[in-house]
């Protein structure tokens, strides 16, 4: 794979104090290519679609809809969906409704700590355009300015059924290899970072949270 294109040297991490810089990695993320053999990639995409591990991080009010999803009535386990308590092991990040600036910081951290391929699903209208909080001093209006979104599920609030429809849609996208948010994020890393830093004024973390 073409590493040179992205290896632009270490990240500046200028939000950190000199002391902290030794504690965080300053490596620049690199996108991954599909497997060289198409069949393998296809197979792996099918596997990925059928093993969706959600990050159990309720970022907004919509997260309340995630719990019924896993219970007896909807039983998303059937579709290979599971909750994981740590971002390291999760592949799907559900933004549960409106995201404030303060939460965005945590979302970015958690997202960057997830290992690729990883997918972002936005739940509800708020991440799309701010919804009913569009004119708040604290609510993000266009979530895809900050992180790559693979799927939006609209509604306020979307019910678990919609969520399940969304999961099926996500599966379809993954199987087709169209859910490439993780790579998009890295390919447009500078743009995303600029957007993130535009709203997060006290940037006290490394530029990429490995």
């Amino acid at each position: 794979m073409d590493m040179q294109k992205y290896a632009l040297g270490p990240l500046p991490n200028d939000g950190l104090s000199a002391e902290d810089r030794d504690l965080f990695s300053d490596a620049r993320p690199v996108p991954y290519e599909p497997y060289p053999v198409a069949v393998v990639e296809k197979f792996v995409n099918w596997v990925r679609a059928n093993s969706l591990w959600l990050l159990a991080f309720g970022t907004g009010c919509g997260a309340i809809e995630l719990n019924p999803l896993m219970t007896a009535r909807f039983d998303a386990y059937r579709m290979g969906v599971q909750m994981r308590p740590t971002p390291r092991q999760s592949s799907v990040f559900i933004i549960g409704g409106y995201a404030s600036v303060k939460t965005l910081k945590r979302i970015i951290r958690s997202y960057e700590q997830m290992q690729g391929p990883k997918f972002v699903v936005c739940l509800g209208i708020c991440p799309i355009n701010g919804g009913m909080y569009w004119d708040s001093y604290n609510t993000l209006n266009k979530f895809d300015e900050y992180l790559p979104v693979d799927l939006y599920i609209t509604g306020c609030m979307p019910r678990p059924e919609v969520l399940m429809a969304g999961v099926l849609e996500l599966k379809k996208k993954i199987k087709e290899g169209r859910a490439d948010g993780a790579n998009r994020y890295i390919e447009n890393f500078e743009w995303y970072k600029a957007n993130q830093k535009r709203v997060i004024k006290d940037w006290n973390m490394p530029d990429y949270n490995w």
Binding site: V101, K102, K105, I128, N129, G130, W134, D135, S136, Y137, N138, T139, L140, N141, K142, E145, R198, V199, I200, K201, D202, W203
Partner: protein, 187 residues
Amino acid sequence: MANAIQLLADFGRNFTLSDIREQRVDLAFCKAPKEQAVRLIRELRDDAGYTHLVFLTNTDYIEQGIFTLTYMLHNYDARHTLGVHVDLDRNAAEMESIHNLWAQAATYQRELREMYGIRFPGSPRLDEDFCLEGWDQIPPMLKEFDTAAFSLERFHSREGRGSVDPSEHMKTLLYPTHSDEPSSGGS
């Protein structure tokens, strides 16, 4: 509860209370001058049984150039809530801290400092970020702060967003023929 009024009247001998108002049987308000407020609250807590600080909040009366703090106190024995209003000058908003009376008041005071810029000298961690992190504008709850403009400027509203008056929308949806008629109740 007539007792509360009586109580405030009694207190009124030592304090210049005004606007004594009984809103419900279990809820009353009064207004105290800035200088006397904390002493009043202390005595309410220690002598009158208002041991619980329900909340501390602020209202911005930009037209009158004042902030009005509301200290909401509760008496568990009498099951009575008492609000003490205190007017502050909007241009020099500063108030005596009550974190010595209730430790949790410090948190309210941090919030008021952050959201309205009211100072509470001596209150712990007053200037640390509370709800907002890295806020670089005037305090956002001040009425002169235009949140919509700020949001548009910073959070980039998405194209294609429209706004519909719910009642109009429902009328067009349900009674398309009546849409042009003047409504009787509408203004």
